[in-house]
């Protein structure tokens, strides 16, 4: 009502006329999308996409490019995201919110805790910040905390310190947002609904239908999106900016003529979730969705129903082609919007042909549809239920939401989907991630001896500094290893050596760089890892590197099954395991080796996890290419 009055008083003026509103809508949509994609392409390439997959991998123990959480990425993500969302593209803000929030956590902890921060505490801060990102994106503090634990830190062991940090950061972030009051209505939750009509047991079959839709949505949309990402990598990678501009133009053109597509997704969900009438039958919501009753003409009913179905299908297809484009893009809110339009369309049918008017709460079906698709695309359960309640306050519908989410989860797990879109993107992008090993015992049949690397670069426990420097800096010896076993001096000419420790390359490099020894002296300066000064006869110029050597690396026998090794890497969090036989080093296995081996074997046995229809891709590309050649300025006319 307030908005209507505002427009009636002329405080807010809508563009009027026949053509100019359309032109302004299209131009601004394309302009916003262009600025967003240009910022991402030329200023901070790491700001593209959602970012949740990389953050999951980072927190699980595989550190990504530092620019990914750098200041420039934070700024570009924070500016390009609103531009991408307001361009009308079917992208959401929760994934990018997780990314910019984690950037804040990374930068502030590096600055404030610079000399006491360790990796394990850094992971806690990053998990807490990522949860706060979801909290402020949805206005759902506890949902954000659960997201951080259920999604981001799923590979790590749960600890209450992380929970407390997540809780506190979400609390303060939401309070800050409340103080800023961005909606100017004193609320931070996106839409406040008051479903005061209880649900009935007879509605459970409908809830099951909504849950099935959510499961199928999650299965097929993620599958098609991954296929389109493959198509994009194969054919469109040379034109990321043009692709975004084309998508924005197409989306704006289609959306302009459909009310549920034209509105901002959160705004349209606010309408779809809204209850029509209160119990005392005073109509509180004047949207045409609530004007339908048994006397409505079939044509009018059909118009709204097809409009909702059209919005459902088109939005789903736009999600498939938009998620993964060169802009900051999330997929949660668009998925909720698809579920909301579908749920609302179902409620029209139920009210018209089954229950009659004033029996069910139509907005609740949109709310349940949104919960189903959100759970379908993320493969989350607890987090989704809590977020939906924090979004709307509809606590009366806790059981229907749980039914819907449970059905969605059952559909996903029975169709072999092992994770949400973020987990699948980890596999699609080829990121390392130690989560639960594959169901069937692929690794059971193999032993450490069959997988280990038996050609090692070892360093003996005493070595001249010059030798070490030339080895570390010499580009020719720049192997792709990040660590070296330390072997005993006594074994220097032996074929078989005893490993007495392990040193990481980056520690070695930083320690060598800290030595202010000139090159002449470096020839006679002896570096020792394990010996004591007495052993060295109290020489003058020798330097102890004992502090950077791991003197008790984890060792296993060659016969240890790979499944046990996998669990050791996952539970212990170590990076390298030395394979020893009666004290003699036989080889070395890293966490990445285990993952490479597992995924390679999985592919040999089960085939590729993601299959693509190359023929269809080629056909699509030939059509697109034909269109490009027709419209491209430098086409040679003899083709015509």
């Amino acid at each position: 009502r307030q908005e209507f009055e505002c427009e009636a008083q002329g405080v807010w003026i809508n563009w009027n006329g026949r053509v100019s509103p359309f032109m302004i809508f299209m131009l601004l949509s394309v302009l916003f999308a262009s600025i967003s994609t240009l910022l991402v392409k030329y200023v901070a390439p790491m700001a593209t996409g959602s970012g949740i997959s990389e953050i999951k991998v980072w927190v699980s123990g595989f550190e990504y490019n530092k620019d990914f959480l750098g200041f420039l990425t934070l700024v570009v993500k924070s500016v390009a995201l609103p531009l991408a969302i307001s361009s009308g593209l079917s992208v959401g803000k929760e994934g990018p919110s997780v990314h910019y929030a984690t950037c804040c956590g990374y930068l502030l902890t590096k600055w404030l805790l610079r000399d006491t921060l360790t990796y394990s505490t850094q992971y806690e801060y990053l998990t807490a910040a990522s949860g706060a990102g979801v909290a402020v994106a949805f206005g759902a503090p506890i949902g954000g905390v659960l997201f951080g634990l259920e999604e981001i830190a799923s590979a790590n062991r749960f600890n209450s310190s992380t929970l407390w940090k997540s809780y506190y950061v979400a609390l303060v972030a939401i309070t800050t947002l409340k103080y800023i009051d961005p909606f100017r209505n004193g609320r931070v939750i996106l839409f406040n609904v008051t479903y005061d009509r209880d649900w009935k047991v007879q509605e459970i079959p409908i809830f099951i239908i909504l849950g099935v839709f959510g499961g199928l949505y999650g299965k097929y949309i993620s599958k098609w999106n991954i296929s389109f990402i493959h198509f994009r990598k194969m054919y469109l990678s040379a034109w990321p900016v043009q692709e975004v501009i084309f998508l924005a133009t197409l989306t704006a053109f289609i959306s302009y003529f459909n009310e549920f597509l034209k509105l901002d997704m959160t705004e349209s969900m606010g309408i779809l979730f809204h209850e029509c009438v209160k119990n005392d039958n005073t109509s509180t919501f004047g949207h045409r969705l609530c004007q339908l009753d048994e006397n409505t003409h079939a044509l009018e009913f059909l118009k709204i129903f097809t409009s909702l179905c059209f919005a459902t299908v088109i939005r789903a297809l736009l999600v498939v082609v938009s998620y993964g484009a060169r802009i900051p893009a999330g997929i949660f809110v668009p998925s909720m919007a698809v579920g909301a339009t579908f749920g609302r369309a179902v409620s029209l049918l139920v009210e018209r042909f089954i229950s009659g008017p004033a029996v069910i709460t139509p907005g609740a079906y949109a709310f349940l549809g949104a919960a189903a698709t959100l759970s379908g695309i993320t493969n989350l359960t607890l987090t989704v239920v809590v977020i939906m309640f924090e979004l709307t306050g509809a606590f009366m519908y806790i059981i229907p939401v749980m039914i819907v989410v449970a059905i969605t989860r059952i559909i996903l797990s029975t169709s072999g989907i092992s994770g949400g879109i973020a987990d699948q993107m980890i596999m699609v992008n080829g990121f390392p991630y130690l989560e639960d090993e594959q169901e069937d015992e692929i690794l059971e049949k193999y032993t450490a001896e069959q997988v280990m690397s038996s050609k090692l670069i070892t360093i003996n426990e005493t070595i001249y500094l010059s030798e070490l420097e030339s080895f570390l800096y010499d580009s020719a010896s720049d192997f792709s290893v990040h660590g070296f076993p330390i072997t005993r001096d006594e074994d220097k000419f032996e074929k078989e050596k005893k490993c007495i420790g392990y040193v990481l390359k980056r520690h070695l490099t930083s320690k060598v760089m800290m030595q202010s020894v000139n090159s002449a002296k470096a020839q006679t300066t002896l570096v020792y890892f394990n010996k004591t000064n007495d052993d060295l006869g109290h020489r003058e110029n020798c330097i102890g590197f004992k502090d950077i050597m791991n003197s008790s690396p984890i060792t296993v026998k060659p016969q240890v099954p790979m499944s046990l090794l996998f669990r050791m890497f996952k539970e212990l969090g170590c990076k390298t395991i030395i394979v020893e036989e009666s004290g003699i080093s036989r080889g070395l296995i890293t966490a990445k080796d285990v993952l490479r081996f597992e995924r390679m074997k999985y592919r040999e046995i089960h085939g590729a996890k993601f299959t693509y229809n190359e023929a269809l891709d080629r056909r699509c590309w030939s059509v697109i290419n034909f269109i490009i050649t027709i419209f491209s300025p430098n086409r040679n006319d003899n083709i015509i």
Binding site: C104, Y168, V169, T176, R184, G430, N460, V481, L536, G573
Partner: protein, 136 residues
């Protein structure tokens, strides 16, 4: 006294130099492994990420107390500042997004910069008595 040192052995067994990292097939599921560095949570989990070489010595009472207070409050301060920055960015994002979205369908008669929420909310009435510059 120059003692011998052992040259770096290129491999335990005979054979060519280098490390056989390519003993696994290069499949799409592992194509970006090298962009990540594995963190050894055992060896590095509790080692400071970057040891400040120029740690300031506690040469005064004041500094000692400052250190004690910082040690106790640093977690709280870090979490609070992270949260406040995240909240502010989220607020900016929300307002900026809504402004851009609203520009596509109309404008605020009072001040074209405002989005619909700000334009129509009665808060602006109180503020509009302030000078135009402040409002802008």
């Amino acid at each position: 006294m120059v003692t011998r040192y052992v040259p770096i052995n290129q491999s335990i067994e005979g054979g060519e130099d280098g490390v056989d990292t390519n003993r696994f097939a290069n499949i799409p599921e592992t194509q970006n492994f090298d962009q990540f560095v594995t963190i050894d949570k055992i060896a590095e989990g509790n080692r400071p990420l970057s040891v400040e070489s120029d740690r300031s010595f506690l040469n005064s009472k004041y500094q000692y107390y400052r250190e004690v207070i910082w040690d106790r409050a640093k977690t709280f301060i870090t979490l609070s500042s992270t949260a406040i920055v995240i909240g502010c960015i989220a607020g900016f994002l929300q307002v900026f997004t809504e402004t851009l979205v609203n520009w596509k369908t109309g404008r605020c008669n009072r001040n074209w910069l405002l989005n619909k929420s700000f334009c129509c909310s009665n808060v602006v009435n109180e503020v509009s008595s302030a000078s135009k510059v402040v409002l802008k």
